[in-house]
């Protein structure tokens, strides 16, 4: 009798704890679109584990997610019930009003979430963040030691170190950078421009303000860096830059935290590259205090144009995918700087933590920032090839941006 009571009590308490922890939904359609880096693969797999019975989970994780998430959510019913986005890409979804406020779902199923995971816009929860990200320095400690240079904390020191490494014949092109014309090149401009203390827009308006001294200094620094890069730099995105690093061709580069942890986990990476791999915080430039980088969060949203049942199923599956228990796996714990309850920073996280602690500015969440980013990506390539002056390139960016902003109704 006594044993039976204990058994029942245990069963009840177990049930109690399962009810508290994240649970899979009972029914509904879950369809996720997002980027493809390792941490997001983990989230996708976690949500997919809820498949079964009348729950249907599908994922589409691709580098092209930003191109397809809006078209896939604007229809009714939406193809994607959740988009995994960052502070830059949530803006496009907000602009077209395709994601729903999550307040009631957080109240019902969000017991595991920490308050700082909730992204609130004008008082309403619009997304749930699960990781932080930033670009920061990764370097080859062995090469720097051989060249006898300190780990650079400014871009000027990085240039000096690169010159030393090249002149000693250790590497031809020691600097790496995701400078591919388009999104990547524009992002490097953003980092460097914020590091110079620049402002993208006149306060409270969509008027561009990048054609100034800081803008010119930014471009000059990017040009100086590119002289130490593989000559094909205008075609190198993050993946290609990582490949260069893995091949042992690069000693210093500004890289995403989300890719740093798994940087050397690939077939064919030599021991020298693996052992010499080291991470440091983002660098400053031109004597400034603000690091030349941007802070990012990655999180999930829930589509507006779907049934409440599917929205609830999606929210539950996503919360299940980011439940604190996933951090028990060491491999997963080191994939990202998780914002999840119970996360202990790993060695791979020092870069992002340094970025957050040294006053790095978050990527601006403005409705017209995407247009500025596109204009930068399209118009800066001419300057990087030496075809025009920095002033001309910045004037072109502003002209291209103004044209786009007028069309979209942000400027008159």
């Amino acid at each position: 009798m006594f044993l039976k009571k204990i058994a029942i009590a245990t069963a009840v308490s177990l049930m109690g704890t399962t009810a508290m922890a994240a649970a899979c939904p009972d029914a509904g359609r879950v369809s996720i679109v997002g980027n493809e880096f390792p941490a997001i693969q983990t989230i996708g797999a976690g949500a997919s584990a809820c498949t079964g019975g009348s729950v249907e989970v599908s994922t589409n994780l691709t580098a092209d997610h930003q191109t397809i998430n809006l078209p896939g959510m604007i229809s009714s019913p939406a193809e994607y019930t959740s988009a995994i986005i960052a502070n830059s890409s949530i803006v496009a979804l907000m602009n077209d009003d395709v994601i729903r406020p999550l307040g009631d779902l957080v109240a019902a199923h969000g017991a595991d979430l920490k308050p700082n995971q909730l992204i609130t816009i004008n008082g309403e929860v619009m997304a749930v963040a699960f990781m932080a990200n930033a670009q920061h320095l990764v370097y080859r400690a062995d090469v720097l030691a051989e060249a006898g240079v300190e780990v650079p904390s400014t871009y000027e020191e990085m240039l000096a170190a690169a010159e030393k490494i090249r002149s000693m014949g250790l590497m031809d092109n020691p600097v790496g950078g995701a400078y591919a014309a388009g999104w990547n090149l524009a992002q490097e401009f953003n980092n460097m421009y914020l590091g110079h203390g620049g402002e993208f827009f006149a306060a409270g308006s969509a008027e561009p303000t990048i054609n100034n001294e800081q803008g010119v200094a930014t471009l000059e620094m990017m040009k100086s860096l590119s002289a130490y890069m593989n000559p094909d730099f205008l075609t190198h995105d993050s993946n290609a830059t990582n490949a260069e690093y893995r091949a042992g061709n690069v000693a210093l580069m500004n890289m995403w935290g989300s890719r740093a942890a798994t940087m050397t986990d690939a077939d064919g990476v030599s021991d020298a590259v693996k052992d010499g791999f080291a991470i440091a915080g983002p660098m400053t430039v031109a004597g400034g205090d603000t690091p030349a980088s941007t802070l990012w969060w990655d999180g999930f949203t829930v589509a507006k144009n779907i049934s409440d049942e599917d929205a609830e199923a999606t929210f539950m599956a996503m919360v299940k995918a980011i439940e604190p228990a996933i951090l028990d796996d060491d491999e997963i714990a080191k994939q990202a700087v998780w914002l999840i309850d119970g996360y202990e920073p790993t060695e791979a996280a020092v870069g992002v933590f340094a970025a957050a602690n040294s006053g790095t500015i978050p990527y601006p969440m403005l409705p017209y920032m995407g247009l500025m980013h596109s204009a930068l990506g399209a118009e800066l390539a001419d300057f990087m090839q030496g075809k025009e002056t920095a002033e001309q390139a910045l004037a072109d960016v502003e002209a291209a941006y103004i044209t786009a902003a007028k069309e979209k109704g942000f400027l008159n």
């Binding site: 998430n69 803006v91 816009i121 932080a132 730099f233 978050p362 980013h373 001309q392 109704g409």
Partner: protein
């Protein structure tokens, strides 16, 4: 054929053309005259892992109300056609007034996205099309004179570039011509210049794209000409041989005139295709050096910016461009038709 019978034969095709060709064109033209409403912006407090900030966002309720009244957006007439992203009339006029030589004027023109794209598109179209016709014809004549047993194999291999998906084909080439790839390294060795990079030079990138375009499309011309070669009248060829015509003269005076309608056909199709060049630019990540009208449309439709009106306008300009390009051929077809009716 009776008109009535013809009508019922043609009706399904006509319906399909109406739905899949005419309606989208109408919708694209319509879209190019409208832009989104002016955004109603408000300042709000946004909070997240990095604290709270006052930021600007779109007032969705107000915007939805305006959109509900006029779902098509603001009517802007032809202003998108004339803006900097397209015909850029103001900028072109300023460049014309401000530059002292034609060279300087064209330099400034090349700085405007539309003219930069049209510049590459035209160079690409008018080099690739003749080259691929010549190459396709040469392969066809070559394969046709092979021994029967070799023909099948030769045809298969000649067709391979056309079978490969353009995007995949260009990606394969992209890695081969990388400065660390097999072709890129070979070129560096041949030119004895270890810093030579195809991808870093605009002129070399253009040449590379043109070579790729010829490589990819020549098999199409080859197949058409090879089929045509099977219909060359043997009597005429034999009498030419008896008259002592050399191989070159046989081709020049017997084969080519016979294949002329096919040359027109291939030229027509390829002019259209090449004018819409896109995959190689994307596959070779060549947008720093070369853009095309199709590439502009693609980049405008990118999810984060999604400039539907700009993309629609470029689409209409592409359609007009194709129409102008095909005008000589179309006029000739029309004349032949009128001539036949007499």
């Amino acid at each position: 054929m009776k008109h009535r019978t013809f009508f019922w034969f043609f009706a399904p095709t006509a319906l399909a053309m109406l739905i899949f060709i005419a309606a989208p064109i109408v919708s694209v033209v319509l879209q190019s005259f409208f832009t989104p409403h002016e955004a109603v912006l408000i300042e709000v407090e946004n909070c997240g892992p990095f604290g709270c900030q006052i930021e600007t966002t779109i007032d969705q309720d107000a915007t939805a109300a305006i959109r509900g009244e006029k779902p098509l957006g603001r009517f802007v007439g032809g202003s998108i056609y004339l803006d900097r992203g397209h015909l850029a009339t103001t900028e072109v006029a300023a460049a014309w007034r401000g530059s002292d030589s034609m060279g300087a004027f064209f330099d400034e023109l090349g700085d405007l996205p539309f003219y930069r794209a049209i510049g590459f598109t035209l160079v690409y179209t008018f080099t690739v099309t003749p080259l691929l016709i010549i190459l396709g014809f040469a392969i066809a004549v070559g394969v046709n004179s092979l021994h029967k047993r070799l023909k099948g194999l030769a045809i298969f291999f000649s067709l391979l570039p056309f079978i490969v998906t353009p995007l995949v084909g260009s990606l394969i080439m992209f890695w081969m011509i990388d400065s660390r790839g097999i072709l890129g390294s070979a070129l560096q060795w041949m030119a004895d210049d270890p810093t030579l990079s195809l991808k870093a030079s605009t002129s070399l990138t253009w040449i590379m794209l043109i070579v790729y375009g010829v490589w990819h499309s020549a098999p199409f011309a080859f197949v058409v000409f090879y089929a045509g070669l099977q219909t060359v009248p043997q009597d005429t060829l034999e009498s030419a041989q008896i008259d002592g015509a050399s191989r070159w003269q046989q081709i020049r005076y017997v084969v080519l005139p016979h294949l002329m309608p096919l040359v027109t056909f291939v030229a027509l199709i390829q002019l259209m295709d090449n004018f819409r060049v896109f995959e190689p630019i994307f596959g070779f990540s060549a947008q720093a050096h070369a853009t095309s009208l199709s590439w502009i449309i693609f980049s405008d439709l990118n999810g984060e910016t999604r400039q539907l009106s700009a993309a629609a306008t470029t689409s209409v300009l592409t359609i007009i461009g194709v129409a102008i390009l095909l005008m000589p051929v179309l006029v000739r077809t029309w004349r032949d038709f009128r001539g036949g009716a007499h």
